[in-house]
Symmetry: D2
Subunit: 408 residues, 4 copies
Amino acid sequence: MNNMKLFNDPIYGFIQFPYPILYEIIDHPYVQRLRRISQMGLSHYVYPGAVHTRFHHTIGALHLMTEAIRILRSKGVEISDDEAIAASIAILMHDIGHGPFSHALEGEIIHVSHEFLSIQFMEDLKSNFGKHIELALDIFQNKHQKLFLHQLVSSQLDMDRMDYLSRDSFFTGVVEGVIGYDRIIKMLNVRNNELVVEEKGIHSVEMFLMARRLMYWQVYLHKTSVSVENMLRKVIRRLKQLLESDDSDYYSSLLSPSLSFFLCNAITADTLRSQKTDIIEKFSKLDETDIYYSLKNLSECTDEVLRFYSSSILNRRIFKVEHHDEPITIEQIEAIKSKLLKTKTVTMNIIEDVILLSEESNISYNTKKETIKILTKKNEVIPITQFSFNLIDTRLINKFFLCYPKIY
Amino acid sequence: MNNMKLFNDPIYGFIQFPYPILYEIIDHPYVQRLRRISQMGLSHYVYPGAVHTRFHHTIGALHLMTEAIRILRSKGVEISDDEAIAASIAILMHDIGHGPFSHALEGEIIHVSHEFLSIQFMEDLKSNFGKHIELALDIFQNKHQKLFLHQLVSSQLDMDRMDYLSRDSFFTGVVEGVIGYDRIIKMLNVRNNELVVEEKGIHSVEMFLMARRLMYWQVYLHKTSVSVENMLRKVIRRLKQLLESDDSDYYSSLLSPSLSFFLCNAITADTLRSQKTDIIEKFSKLDETDIYYSLKNLSECTDEVLRFYSSSILNRRIFKVEHHDEPITIEQIEAIKSKLLKTKTVTMNIIEDVILLSEESNISYNTKKETIKILTKKNEVIPITQFSFNLIDTRLINKFFLCYPKIY
Amino acid sequence: MNNMKLFNDPIYGFIQFPYPILYEIIDHPYVQRLRRISQMGLSHYVYPGAVHTRFHHTIGALHLMTEAIRILRSKGVEISDDEAIAASIAILMHDIGHGPFSHALEGEIIHVSHEFLSIQFMEDLKSNFGKHIELALDIFQNKHQKLFLHQLVSSQLDMDRMDYLSRDSFFTGVVEGVIGYDRIIKMLNVRNNELVVEEKGIHSVEMFLMARRLMYWQVYLHKTSVSVENMLRKVIRRLKQLLESDDSDYYSSLLSPSLSFFLCNAITADTLRSQKTDIIEKFSKLDETDIYYSLKNLSECTDEVLRFYSSSILNRRIFKVEHHDEPITIEQIEAIKSKLLKTKTVTMNIIEDVILLSEESNISYNTKKETIKILTKKNEVIPITQFSFNLIDTRLINKFFLCYPKIY
Amino acid sequence: MNNMKLFNDPIYGFIQFPYPILYEIIDHPYVQRLRRISQMGLSHYVYPGAVHTRFHHTIGALHLMTEAIRILRSKGVEISDDEAIAASIAILMHDIGHGPFSHALEGEIIHVSHEFLSIQFMEDLKSNFGKHIELALDIFQNKHQKLFLHQLVSSQLDMDRMDYLSRDSFFTGVVEGVIGYDRIIKMLNVRNNELVVEEKGIHSVEMFLMARRLMYWQVYLHKTSVSVENMLRKVIRRLKQLLESDDSDYYSSLLSPSLSFFLCNAITADTLRSQKTDIIEKFSKLDETDIYYSLKNLSECTDEVLRFYSSSILNRRIFKVEHHDEPITIEQIEAIKSKLLKTKTVTMNIIEDVILLSEESNISYNTKKETIKILTKKNEVIPITQFSFNLIDTRLINKFFLCYPKIY
């Protein structure tokens, strides 16, 4: 029995969960590992307060789920204890498959999505938590009949988004991300098995969508963050090359054992399926301390490119970055290369390795997905884009990023 | 030239510093390293939000120093630009000597205080920042004639305490630590070369002292934190033993190179003085990622004690803890041992290693140190304990802690 | 049926009450009148944000009561719906007897305490709300067997104090009043029919007592507030004199009808008992707009003293104020008078009327009243002063105030 | 000389102004009167915390002006002390012409706009504050050469809007109005004599526009507020009718002298110009306490309509309200009338007086006015609608409101 019954959350105050099994799952090493995975990866290089963890986010999302279930039940929506537990487990584990630096390294260390990994982790826990995990998996994968439970876990207005916007805005100090999560949750209801928001909450949802859009461009896709993420990806990619070279033992010795394993073995969905227990066990040992540990070793290694990037990341010497509306052209790249050489910012040796490109896009409300629905005072259910008299931005915005060393 | 001129602090809002040299120092790897040293060590196991870094605290303290200097100047206190820069550097570097998990491991990894190390770091930077560092060192060590500048850096009402109380209370969500730093700083003044607080700020100072006292018992010396800190110290001490055994190579191979170096070589003030550059360089590579990396390896090592403690820390299986007003007796310890054996909580093998003891004390206002002085409306300077009509708690509180595995 | 089910409170967020009858009572004109009685009277002359109303405080205290009942029930304390409703009504009506400017004018307009008036108001509502009011009166007057319900309404740790400290600190911006109401309420329990606080909440209670003490001296008894309150009392006292003179019709015509009634008729507990319905009805028409309306008329009246004070209050020309530890002596008063005359600050005409005296005292924790009790982990109930290892200030502090016109 | 040098603002903390003359103006009765004019009128019937005053808003806007001037000067924008003082006075007085319940009664009590009245008030103070007021008037009326100073006082991104959004959102608890005023002000600059926002602040401006839009519909034009404002306007209009009847003396006697004067004399711009000093003097005596005083008398008067509305407003019995996209038709009105009669909600006597209509519109960003301009990193000045890649809602939204008594 766990006696840690009350969490002090700087955002929500004292929070507590109604089912003991949730505390048991929180105590599991798989969830505790999320203490070593930060929620916002390298964003702390821009926003020094943004060092909160996925563990903290998970606890927060679980709290919002608890609140949402309480509100829905108070409005007569039937949710059994088993369903409530399962929905809670689903949100508690929705991020459990994240690796170090989450999105920045997604697909680089292991060749499956973090959602896929979350499912593997959950399946791995079936032996411990039995039927509860099974129902949680159903809800997570939208196989349970009550669609609205899935929507609380994963939709355009889920508890995940609600918590991360609130939390990231709190820890960064960016007020543009402040949302009325309290009001939105109090206005949730269910019609035709789907989650709806009562009309009185419409402006809070509009603000939520706007806040999400702005947080992407102000914070998540902040130019400096994108730049340092590109730099870190470059390290991983370079490493993978060198680990296939003759010096692979040397480079492997500079990495933590877990990181070495995943970079030397390209794990795909297939390998994962065939050796699940083993790989999940190994992946569960991998966290951001492995990356930092390895970067410190690499910053003194023999490869100039790795040395340059590793020490730059560790000491926050971040590349300059431009964003463009159109793909970067070869001419633009060549122009920068000659400038870097002319100013002796970098040497010929590494010139081919110091131009980093990436593409980022965001859509704050996607009309092609399940829509957010408003329950009007006349008891009609209407998609928000039809009901709102304020503009809702549904466009996909795409940007092309070009990063290279600062020229002094 | 650094172009990162504006920090977004979730507590103070947008902050900026008036001297370019401060940005240069912030950019130095020695300061950037503080991004990998957390401000509150293992407290995040109690307060999940408490993962902010010493880097963030340092930036905050520097902001408060900037404010204090601005206020004092506006009241006619003479502070030259050189003095302002030096006082700013002194606060910026006051914590630079902290190692991983700061107080929890102070004296365990390196046998000198963190203040002593901060001074070595500063001296190491003389070559880069010359006279500014020298004056900063004078202020830091109270060798500069303007005593009040030293007091801003280090006294019972310094910018360090002002920031850490505000920041730790913000990130933990513990409102008992909220203080009126804004009012206190606005009420600062100087008389007879000493820092004083104008009468109108007295209640804010009283609250500051109370908040500091309560934060110690509610947060810094929280039983769970003390327990996990004792557990971590046990790991380090056990390691030092084993590194002197025949298996030293094996245990050394499980540690990060930096940690291994310091645990294998007992560095004292003398060794530090004789090989300063080298050791400072090495110490600057050591941070909390070394500890976590090592703990992960140790959690699978051959030594049962290390394995037990390492995996317990990583997975938050924290010992039960009692605190007592009197030293723990041998009888108390023996009683617990037999209970642990009888309940089969631990085996005979490790029974001698699972009782941890420590002593913690706190005094929120020490009348034996330099006192906090109030400047009355009649322009008199009076120690706060004489002027206040509210009780100020000046007692030293001492507690004895006894930690051991939870019995189920 | 009222459909205003959700209050948006800037402190607590969205709040809601579980019993419809509470909304009916909130809607009653007696409660709505509290919208025109400010919580902090004339303090807004010092803290411009402090214009919140007794209505808002009442709603807040009701919310905390709702929370406290929910927590106690979750710990197995038996509270029937009727008791919960009655305790809620008791807190909802605890301030209903306040007249304009509450404490500043207590005993000046009507010669009974506001608690006595609250009881009369409640009795007047028996016809509307029957047995619920009767039980509420029992709880309010400590005649109900469950002592702890009375303690939630009125004790040294009641929902009234908890809300007003939080609220006043929020609206003034004085952080010294911030308390951990959330934690205290979560730690409430009942033993031997009495309210106790579980050991884990002790530091929050210590901080609550300190915060209350400091709020008195920083805010409630702020010198400027005391001064303007003395000035307002002077207006009322002067008016009562003149209303007994030959010009009583003239002065009466300058007042609102309600204020005129009470100043011309010295209502005591006896008159109130004999003509309750009538007087309660009249008193319910009296609020702060009557005072401001009358002050505006008086600022142009023929009496120099009234004119001087009324326009001074309206235009914030507040007397200078000194506070002393000893009673003010005749010599001190005479010295000030001659200074006022010599500097021609006031004329001989009104010199006898421009020295105002008052005495104020505060005790943040009174050991002679029912004590706050701590429930230890060993399940013992111990008074906080015996259990705490931090100092708790239990002294009565007394100050003598001397106010007179500013001399330029 | 005033010694109240430091305001404690719950939003901005401790604030101070650099020019003594500003304190003198704050102390003037014309400004002090704003303590009796609430910022949000009757909105406190929906949001109980929304009782803050125009005085408080004015102090806040002055603080933001002080900050904006400091930032612009630090970027090399030339602003002389005289200009800084005048711009500060202009913002300090921008609302001084507001009467009781501001917008709700604009044009009902006096037949000129509040801006026109503000100008009259300022001209009246020329004798006290001379050239400073004259320059302030030039800036206020956009006659001064430095356009950007006028824009700080009055434009689509002025200090007025910045403060009222922040303040109203703080006191109501509506987070949808939270804006990054701090960031926007730090990003202000001047190009071609016009205010611009540096590119880094663009998302904060986008959020500001969205927040303003949502605050209108969520708060300022909240249906309940619109309804009670219509009810108050009805009282004033009915009064004006009756004051022209034979019973005018009777009705006049129920009003405060100031209100009576303005309702009996239709003051226009012409009368104001011809008897300025007299009328400004009289208007400066009129505030919200006159309205509440009069409503209390009217709630017991002989006219059924006045009685009905006055007591309804005082006791918060607010009409039901519908809003429509199209003008209300006669058929809709007649349908409601018969329903009211059939349900005996009101009698035939007053049926013609219980249907209230109004039209409200809002545009959060008006492209037909001076645009908000962005200063790009390439030093170009581009209108925000061209530069932003997020949608900016520039549409005028119009709603038709229909209010009538609740039917039970």
